[in-house]
């Protein structure tokens, strides 16, 4: 269950890959939608930590159009946005596929909902 909230926190960490290494691009993602318990306190608390355009792009890659391109101000978050955020962050799961670094093209596979972020020995800083 790689949720988009987790994807929003993962960057490529190959030795020397220091720029344009986030977000990782999905390749062949197989997704599942699973309901999650709504918690507005958590969403509001997490809101400032989100890399918004990375989240929006990832959600679009997975077929979701509900989030606006621009990150709204924290004071302007209405119920509808909160519900959309809840759905995008927590309910879209990538079960299988790959995440690819836009900079160095390293492939991080996802299988059975778990991403493998390990590097080969020569790639470790």
């Amino acid at each position: 269950m790689v949720r988009l909230i987790t994807h929003n926190l993962l960057a490529c960490h190959v030795k020397g890959c220091n720029s344009n290494n986030f977000p990782l691009a999905f390749d062949g993602p197989q997704i599942e939608i699973r309901e999650a318990e709504f918690n507005s306190d958590f969403l509001m608390g997490f809101f400032p930590k989100i890399e918004w355009s990375a989240l929006v792009n990832a959600s679009r890659q997975l077929g979701d159009q509900s989030l606006p391109e621009q990150q709204p101000d924290a004071e302007n978050i209405d119920d509808a946005l909160l519900k959309a955020l809840h759905h995008v962050l927590l309910e879209i799961h990538v079960e299988n596929g790959k995440m690819i670094c836009p900079n160095c093209s390293h492939i991080y596979p996802i299988s059975n909902g778990i991403p493998n972020m390990l590097l080969a020995e020569h790639e470790i800083a």
Binding site: I5, L10, A11, F42, I114
Partner: protein, 218 residues
């Protein structure tokens, strides 16, 4: 008393691949339970466990904090363990997010000063350094306990990143053995600006175990 997470879904076969909770696991659970009220009132958002193994500890933390109140990230170098962590999360109605990874590596860029609760029950047994390297490289069960020189080789790597990872009021809980050099660990972290407290210590068989809690000095 918060009940220990349900691990009934894990079998003898699983425990050939993933670390079976033992005294070192339980002392960490006890330390977290002891701090439950403080943990709850600190309102953490992001929890990260390094080396989640069966998922027992993160599932327990999720019971303390509430599964929907936080993001529970779990790394393990062993993909079998990550699978078990995911299943343990489901079994205990905790949305644990396992990632197969070494330490916190893939999160370092995005989680700077953002981890509110950091947990590490490391491979702490002093072993020959070569054994440590091959155990980690092989991602075998031995990697769950073989700690290399002074039992500190992996812990040392994480300690270098605690200052980067921890949020201003974040807490780091570390399980350690007397042989790891408790005072030395505390002194080194003090130099990074971290106060520490020994939450619990107890003898279990031949091991004298400690749980040390680190927080930034005010």
């Amino acid at each position: 008393m918060i009940p220990t997470p349900d691990l009934s879904h894990l079998t003898r076969v699983d425990y050939e691949h993933v670390y079976e909770p033992a005294e070192d696991t339980f002392i960490l659970l006890d330390a977290l339970e002891q701090d439950a009220a403080e943990l709850q009132s600190s309102r953490p958002l992001i929890c990260l466990e390094i080396g989640s193994g069966s998922g027992c500890v993160s599932a327990f933390l999720a019971k303390i904090l509430g599964s929907k109140a936080c993001l529970f990230l779990c790394t393990d170098i062993n993909s079998y363990a990550s699978r078990c962590t995911l299943d343990t999360g489901h079994q205990n109605r905790a949305a644990l997010q396992p990632v197969v990874a070494s330490l916190a590596d893939p999160f370092l860029e995005r989680l700077g000063h953002n981890v509110d609760v950091l947990l590490f029950n490391p491979p702490y047994v002093p072993t020959v350094s070569q054994d440590w390297q091959s155990a980690q490289f092989g991602k075998s069960l031995e990697g769950a306990w073989a700690g290399g020189t002074d039992g500190m080789q992996l812990t040392n790597e994480l300690l270098m990143n605690v200052n980067h990872l921890l949020s201003p009021r974040g807490r780091f809980y570390l399980v350690a053995l007397k042989a790891n050099g408790i005072e030395n660990i505390q002194q080194r972290m003090l130099a990074f600006g971290f106060a520490s407290k020994i939450c619990l210590q107890r003898r279990a068989g031949r091991e004298h175990l400690f749980v040390i809690r680190f927080q930034r000095m005010p």
